[in-house]
């Protein structure tokens, strides 16, 4: 059996990579288990089929029924379907190696939505047990350690920050210029959005060359500040961190007092191992973290680990989104990545279901082949003519729109469905709350106004379906709170039920504003690691008495 370690970190993604680095730097022996491989800049190619996430056969295994099967349904009365839904990267660095790198801070009010707006019927809207002020220093730390570009003061709605961004914002592109002009005409406040993309050489990495293959692709320059190219090398250099790839954790083990004793994992040769540890940190992303806790049910925790509240897997959120499209008489070149170069926060703050609007990432021909106004031809001569006429005369406005936490929106274990390793998969039940649809339609109509003000000749919005399953913005499955009866984690992401078990990723989100979740999950990772480092005394944490520190 392998030697005991201090900490096992499950997942090396946006948050897990930070946990691995922070704790190994503090002198703890850390084993990070990652089920994917490392896809580096050497795997980058200018190939839409290699990375576009709606196309099967991508180089990671996320859209693959064998590796990532899930059953899903809108509610318990509707039929269950099976598919590779949900977006989970299988790679070192997790989603941060593939994402569009939007690096938003949430606003102050986003941490106290219930006390600001009340609790709408049918939701479990709640305040977070932490505030923006608690996280501000950790947002700053994330921005500086990872490398985030942006323009402080450009967004009149932004929460206060102590230091400017470490790097200047990406230059605007013609789509951003057109969007900004139209937005100003409507009295809105456009500004260059923040990205975890470095715009100048930073900590040994070269600057972004603005290639058009950003969201959904690994970065050929290592300019995208994924944990693979930022914090993980720092952790590995300490000598205290071991990173094992293609190893999936299938269970967390506990003793009869509920103390976590280690994990079992399956390696690439399908061999099962037990790894003993003082502590386990689960950073597998909202869906998979909940799955691991639930799959680890034993006779001491029959409903799953950390689940005495029956809250594990509930309240899953993932942004309803609002997508609008405009066709123009004139060309608006969109050749420079990442693509979004302007955003407005006018509808993201001061509102129950807010969302920030931005011009979408560089579009590519295959994805564009599906973007058509209602009733347009899907094939044939008319389709080809449309493709030719509008490929360079088109703009896509996107918004991430807040969705409400709802208790019946949840992930559970589907014991009849197993993945490549034979581990039971998730069943996802998720239906939009009526308010979600209302908010999405409100934002979509603002997008259409902007497109019309930009003089689009035809404008339409994508319809919103009855429910979303898990998106790349999945969060909320192990919400944090002060009451162990209604929450899974305390304000340090430590599970209420097990002192030496933490869940550090987007699972802890209590509510979800209309901004991308990564930077907040990463700030929380730094915040939580600070607590672990403070409380750590060789061989374990100091114990429950100091839990509320």
């Amino acid at each position: 059996m392998a030697e005991k370690v201090n900490v096992v970190v499950v997942g090396s993604g946006a948050a897990g990579g930070i946990v691995a680095k922070e704790l190994s730097e503090a002198g703890l022996k850390v084993l990070c288990l990652e089920r994917g491989k490392a896809w580096t800049n050497l795997n980058a190619s200018h190939d839409e089929l290699s990375g576009e996430k709606d196309i099967p056969g991508t180089i990671t295994k996320l859209e693959n029924l064998e590796w990532n099967p899930r059953s899903f349904r809108v509610d318990e009365h509707s039929p269950l379907r099976v598919g590779p839904v949900g977006f989970n990267a299988f790679s070192v660095g997790g989603g941060s190696q593939w994402y569009g790198a939007a690096a938003w801070r949430f606003h102050e009010e986003h941490f106290r939505m219930r006390s600001t707006y009340g609790r709408p019927e049918g939701t479990t809207l709640e305040d977070w047990p932490i505030s923006y002020d608690d996280l501000e220093p950790y947002y700053e730390k994330a921005e500086y350690e990872l490398g985030v570009s942006g323009l402080a003061g450009a967004d009149p709605f932004a929460a206060p920050r102590k230091k400017p961004f470490p790097l200047p914002p990406l230059p605007t592109n013609p789509q951003g210029d057109l969007f900004a002009k139209a937005a100003r005409k409507l009295g809105l406040h456009p500004f260059p959005p923040p990205f975890a993309i470095i715009t100048e050489p930073y900590r040994g990495r070269p600057a972004c060359i603005r290639c058009p293959f950003c969201i959904g692709y690994t970065c050929e320059m290592n300019a995208k500040s994924s944990t693979l190219v930022t914090v993980l090398p720092v952790g590995l250099a300490t000598g205290n961190l071991t990173l094992k790839t293609q190893c999936i954790v299938d269970r967390i083990a506990t003793d009869d007092r509920g103390r976590v004793t280690g994990v079992t994992y399956i390696d690439e040769n399908m061999r099962r191992h037990f790894q003993e540890s003082d502590m386990v940190v689960v950073s597998a992303n909202a869906g998979e973290s909940a799955r691991l806790l639930l799959n680890s049910a034993n006779r001491f925790s029959p409903k799953g680990l950390a689940n005495s509240s029956d809250q594990v897997g509930r309240n899953v959120m993932s942004h309803i989104g609002a997508n609008s499209f405009g066709l123009f008489d004139f060309e608006i070149p969109h050749d420079f990545g990442p693509g979004p170069s302007m955003a407005v926060n006018d509808f993201a703050v001061g509102k129950l279901g807010g969302g920030h609007i931005y011009n979408f990432y560089v579009h590519h021909p295959i994805a564009f082949a599906y973007r058509r106004p209602p009733n347009a031809a899907r094939w044939g001569k008319a389709h080809k003519d449309f493709q030719r006429r509008y490929f360079r005369r088109y703009m896509h406005m996107n918004a991430d729109v807040a969705d409400m936490p709802v208790e019946t929106n949840r992930v559970e274990i589907d014991s009849s469905l197993r993945d490549h390793w034979g581990i039971p998969s998730l069943r996802i039940t998720r239906k939009w709350h009526p308010l979600d649809i209302e908010h999405s339609e409100f934002i979509a109509s603002r997008e259409r106004e902007i497109l019309k003000a930009a003089e689009a000749v035809e404008v339409w919005s994508a319809p919103v379906g009855p429910g979303g399953f898990l998106g790349q913005h999945q969060c909320g499955t192990c919400r944090m709170g002060n009451d162990p009866k209604t929450s899974v984690l305390n304000r340090q992401c430590q599970t209420h039920d097990h002192d030496n078990l933490f869940v550090i990723d987007t699972s802890c989100f209590v509510s979800f504003p209309g901004h991308n979740p990564s930077l907040t999950a990463q700030a929380i990772a730094y915040w939580s690691c600070d607590y672990i480092k403070r409380e750590w005394k060789g061989g374990g944490l100091r114990g429950p008495a100091s839990m509320s520190a």
Partner: protein, 206 residues
Amino acid sequence: MMLLRRSFLRWVTIAIGNLSVPGRMGRLYARARAGENRGELAPGCVFFNVEQARTLEAVCDQIVPPDDCAGAREAGVLYFIDRALALWARQNRWDYVAGLEAIDESGRAMFKGNFADLPREQQTRVMEKIEQGKAPGRIWENFHVGPPVEAGYWSYLGDESGNAQQKFFTLLVRHTMQGYYGHPKYGGNKQETSWKMLDYVGLRHL
């Protein structure tokens, strides 16, 4: 030819028999191997036989027709789909084996000829019928399309409603677009013909 048809009809029947167990469809499709397709292999293909290749080329050329810029046939979309079925879309092999037969059957029922032998206008009529889910034929009645067509987070990208032949149509359109507008290294989009048509930056950036 009859032998071939009986053999895949058996497969289709087995598939229908297992429908009630959702998790098993993937494994069932995974059992299909390239070598299990019958007939004389089409030149340059690893999966499609000569008849299938002929029908599929005509179908793809309907989806992206030629004009002053190459259509799907000339751009090599057949070879893209062939490679997809051999490598990453294995689960759709039997959709194609049965679906292409069904398209020929519809052609014979509507215009007394296999699809590839019909004039373009009549081919378009058959395609429209399939898109509407109303193409005639016995094979369609027992037809079921593999799971990846039903999945999809970006529901606005493709219409997921409709009967099995409509889903197969969606699959055909999806694969044809991928082949025609995707990277030439996968076998379609020969000489970057579609990228030139769109003035797409593609490989030219840097």
